[in-house]
Structure formats: C-alpha cells, structure tokens
C-alpha cells in the first residue's frame, strides 16, 4: 500500500543522516501547484468583485466592459483550475506514491491516526523535536484532504453549475453540473452562497497552508518551499 510504503521510507530515514535529499514532487505536480495557486488568486479576487462589484463606471455602457472582463477572467481562470485539476487527478494515478496522498487518507490505519495526534501535539508546542516526513505529514494530509481536495470539488461543481446557467439549457456545463442546482433545492441563489462560502474555505486554507509551509521549513529542519520548486526534499540534519 502506498501508505505503508511511505512509513517504511519514513522509518528508514528516522535516524539516518545519510539520506540528505529525496525526490518527492515530480514536475507535473509542481507545475500544477503553481498554476493552481495563480488561478486561485485570480478566482478569489475576481470572485470577490462578482459578489461585491466595483463602483459604477462613468460614461456610456458602450464605452465600458469592466464587469464583462472581470467575469471573463473568472471563467478563464476557472477553466484553467478545472483542467489542471483533471491533470492532477490523472497524475495521482500515474505519478509517484506521493502524488495520490491528498486524495486518499488512510482512515483505517491506527498508526496513521496516532501520527496525526503526534503532529497535533507538535503544533500545540507539546513536542519539542519535530518529525520528518518525505511527503505531507499526516495532519497536513488530513487538512489538505478536508479543506483543499473536498473544497476544490465543491468549488468546481458549484462554479461550473453556475457557469452552465449562463451558457444556457443543454450546454455542456448544464448537462454535467446542472444537477448541483437541483441538489441545492432548485434555487441557484443557494449555489451562489455555497460557492461564496467555498471561496472563504480556500482563503482560510491558503492562510494556514502558507504559514505551515514556512514554519516547517524553518522549524522542522527540512525543506518545504524549495521542494515545491525543485521537487527535492532536503534534510538539514
């Protein structure tokens, strides 16, 4: 199993100072990470303005297209996010063992849960010496799954359902995602609310994610940020 595999690897490096660097994130995954990050920034900003538009533009309607451009940017970034998410899912299936980590959490493994609790103690300052992991630490994996993976599906499904309303009845987005509106009780105002709350979920994730990555980079004596650029995780002792 993929999980046991990473624990084995973990045990191997537990006290070995020989292992200095491990190749963790392959190129497609890293590319996805940064494209995705950029798309989320564009989506959150334009999405905010779609909910709370900018002050009224002066002049004739024919001289302006601001809201059109904002919505265009939102939809274009949404497509990028969605297509890269499909690529990411494909890579989870064909990539290395770390690439599927954010999609599957080993809820059946007692050992994994004890590792989650250990990490929780670490973040609550109850443990003094950090553990090292090649991929995500179990708690990061849990957070990644709950907030990011689930959040991503919520945003893509609600987003394309709403987009389908604009494309119209019978459009691909309506046929694939129109059921989301029925699920929400038939009034798409509810889907707008879900989509809006999902944005805040992802903003919250980004805050915690960026903080945790920087903190771990400093305090766990292993590389975090440069790992998502080069793919290699370095261990400093």
């Amino acid at each position: 199993m993929l999980y046991e595999h990473s624990v084995d690897a973990l045990d191997k490096i537990k006290d070995a100072k020989l292992v200095k660097a491990v190749y963790v994130y392959e190129a497609p995954l890293r590319l996805w990470h940064w494209v995705n990050a950029l798309a989320i920034v564009v989506l959150a900003i334009t999405g905010w303005f779609i909910g709370s538009p900018t002050p009224t533009m002066q002049g004739e309607a024919s001289d302006n297209f601001l809201f059109g451009y904002i919505r265009f940017a939102h939809f274009a970034a949404g497509y990028v996010l969605g297509i890269f998410w499909l690529v990411r899912i494909y890579w989870a299936l064909v990539g290395n063992e770390h690439s599927i980590q954010i999609f599957v959490i080993p809820v059946w493994s007692k050992h994994w849960w004890s590792e989650v609790l250990w990490e929780l103690r670490w973040y609550l300052f109850l443990e003094r010496v950090p553990k090292k992991y090649i991929g995500h630490n179990p708690m990061a994996q849990l957070a990644m799954f709950m907030m990011f993976t689930v959040g991503m599906f919520i945003m893509l499904f609600t987003g394309f359902a709403l987009y389908g309303e604009g494309l119209g009845e019978g459009s691909w987005a309506d046929r694939l995602f129109g059921w989301v509106i029925s699920l929400a009780g038939g009034n798409s105002l509810q889907v707008h609310n879900w989509h809006h709350l999902g944005m805040w979920l992802i903003v919250t994730f980004v805050i915690v994610h960026v903080y945790a990555a920087i903190r771990e980079d400093i305090m766990s004596r292993q590389s975090m940020i440069s790992t998502m650029i080069s793919g290699w995780r370095m261990f400093k002792d």
Partner: protein
C-alpha cells in the same frame, strides 16, 4: 360529442380572420415559426375541447387574476371557452351544491381525459383542516380528483414550490402539489403570479399538440422558463459595463443602470418577464426601476433580503451572509496563525537559549 374550439369561437361571434390571427400569434409565442400555424389551425378546428378542472387551495387568487388578463388577442374571451373550463369555483356562475355537482360530473364523465389545474397548495397539518373545500379538507379533494386526471398543471409558486404560506416556519405545513401527487405528470408554471401569456401559452400548447410541453429539470416548460430574467434583460449592457444603481434614487437609478447591487434576483430567476413582460407587454419590475425579487424561484421568501446581492444565510444566524461567515473564519485563521507564529518564535528562541546554556555548562 364535445364542440371543437373553432365551433366555440364561431359561436361566440369571433371571425375567422381573428381566429387565424390568434393561431399565428400563439405559434409565435411558442417559438414555433410559421409552419406551425396550419397545425394549430387544424387542431383548433378538429379537436374536441379538453375539460379543465381548476381547483383553488391555499392561495391568494393572483394566478386567476393574472390569467384573466391575458393580453393575447382573444385569449381572455376565448381561452376560457376554448379549454372548456368546466369547473373553477372562483370564475364559474354556479355556486354551492350546483358547483359541486358539476365537479362530480366532470370527474365521472371524462375520467382520465381532463386536465387538473391547481392554484395554491394543500396544507397537511391537522389533517388538512387549514383549507376546507366544500366541507372537506382540500387535500382530500385534490387526491381524489388527481387520481383520474390526464395531467396536472401547478399554477403559480404556491402549487409549484409552496410560496409564502410555506415560508418558514410554515405553520400549516403547506406543501406543493408535486409532493402530494406523485404518480401524475405535473407541469409547474411558477411565478407569483405567473405571466398571463405564459399560462395561456402552456394550455394552448397542450391542446394543440396533445402532449405536455418539454419540461426542464425542475418540471417547468422550457419555452418560458429556459432562460433567466438576466439573460434577456434590457439593462444587461449596464451589467457587463459595470454600471450599477448603488442606492435608490441615485444618478445610476435615474439613468436606468443595472440593479444587481441593490439585490436584483434576475441572475438566479428563470422566467419570461424580460421578454414577454406584463400587462400587454407594457412593463416588468426591472423596467419600472425595481429589481426582480425572484418570485418564480423555489423558496424565494426564505432566501434573504430582496435588496442584497450576497444574501443572508439563516443557518448562521439572522443578518449573516457568506462574506460575514467566511470573512470571520478567515480572520480567525489569520489571527490564530499570527499567534501561533509568535509562540513558535518564542519557543524556538528559548530552545536555542537552552542549547546555548547547555553548551556553556559543558
């Protein structure tokens, strides 16, 4: 033998010329083009009238008020005769036992052939005692008459979704028709009220083609509910340009800018108002300077203010919307991160001090 529609029209003194005009206007309103006109004419001339039973549950009669104002030529004189509206306790001349006798007669004589039109909905609490119809709970009558109906038309938001009487806390448990009658084809024609021409258009389609109109995922006729108010709104260019009414009576309001920021529900409301309009095509809410309140959408009374774009979400308490809830979560996360970072830095500094002390001690 029941009279055909054409017989009825002629008997009522309507000329053939007017009749043909009606047929071509109907074809246009159904989006069918000129090839369909002869078909409609033929159907009207040869088909027997379909008996329609029109029941009133918990409602305000605004659907009937709208219906009788249908502005298509002839419709207010004709459609009522055309469909053989044999029972409608609000409109019919008979009353009391006479009316109920007609009711029983239709049900028995045209078993499986009549169309049941329901305005309003049945309340289910207290065995349906909140709506009594000729001495019996309305829900009983509805179940009984629906059993032998060919199809059911749910007029208005009451019959389609529940509308105001089903708004929280819904004390009488007013329930839309499709949740009570589950074994019949149901056409929902929502709106509070629905547009008159939409109502007559749906009926004309069913009579002409002898089948139900194509329905969308939620059971509404696609021809009238296939697009949002927003998609065909004449103020849409101002939306795309980013020109909004910021508050009532400001410069933007005078110039007729988009009402999105003052809570117009056009972007989430499926109806034909922006194309068909109301009262012989005179106007519709947005043209009169007020945003759409989304009256043809499910649960529109319970979806927050009519005047906010990002509306309240009741589950999180009164006066709370997605931005307030989400913004609070994000702010708490940010504060927690800052506090955590501070504690981390302190702990780490102290840790280093310990190491240094130990090193010094050794």
């Amino acid at each position: 033998m029941i009279e055909t529609f054409y017989d009825v029209l002629r008997r009522q003194g309507i000329t053939r010329r007017s009749f043909l005009k009606f047929c071509s206007l109907t074809a246009t309103s159904l989006g069918l083009g000129s090839a369909a006109v002869p078909k409609i004419v033929n159907a009207m001339e040869s088909k027997p009238r379909t008996p329609v039973l029109w029941l009133h549950g918990l409602e305000c009669t605004c659907c009937s008020e709208s219906f009788i104002r249908s502005a298509h030529p002839l419709s207010k004189d004709v459609v009522l005769s055309m469909i053989s509206l044999d029972y409608d306790d609000t409109l019919m001349a008979a009353a009391g036992h006479q009316a109920e006798a007609i009711f029983d007669e239709i049900v028995n004589k045209y078993r499986g052939q009549y169309i049941l039109a329901v305005e309003g909905n049945p309340p289910l609490n207290e065995d349906g005692m909140f709506c009594i119809h000729a001495g019996r709970p309305f829900v009983e009558k509805l179940r009984e008459v629906a059993k032998d109906a060919k199809a059911i038309i749910s007029w208005g938001s009451c019959a389609s979704w529940g509308c105001v009487q089903a708004a929280k806390p819904n004390p009488t448990r007013a329930t839309p028709v499709h949740k009570v009658i589950t074994d019949k084809p149901i056409i929902k024609v929502p709106g509070c009220p629905p547009i008159a021409e939409v109502m007559t258009g749906v009926i004309t389609y069913m009579l002409t083609f002898d089948r139900l109109p194509e329905l969308d995922r939620q059971g509404r006729p696609k021809m009238f509910y296939g697009q949002r108010i927003h998609d065909k709104c004449y103020r849409r260019p101002h939306f795309d340009a980013g020109q909004f009414v910021e508050q009532w009576d400001d410069e933007g309001a005078r110039k007729g800018y988009c009402l999105y920021k003052v809570g117009c529900k056009g972007p989430t409301t499926y109806n034909a108002c922006s194309t068909t309009r109301w009262n012989e095509g005179v106007s519709f809410p947005i043209a009169s300077g007020h945003g759409c309140i989304g009256c043809s959408e499910d649960g529109f009374w319970d979806k927050g203010s009519f005047y906010d774009r990002v509306t309240d979400i009741k589950q999180f308490g009164i006066e709370s919307n997605a931005d307030k809830v989400g913004g609070t979560v994000a702010a708490v996360a940010g504060a927690a991160v800052a506090a955590h970072a501070a504690v981390s830095a302190l702990t780490r500094a102290r840790g280093k001090q310990d190491v240094k002390d130990q090193a010094g001690g050794n």
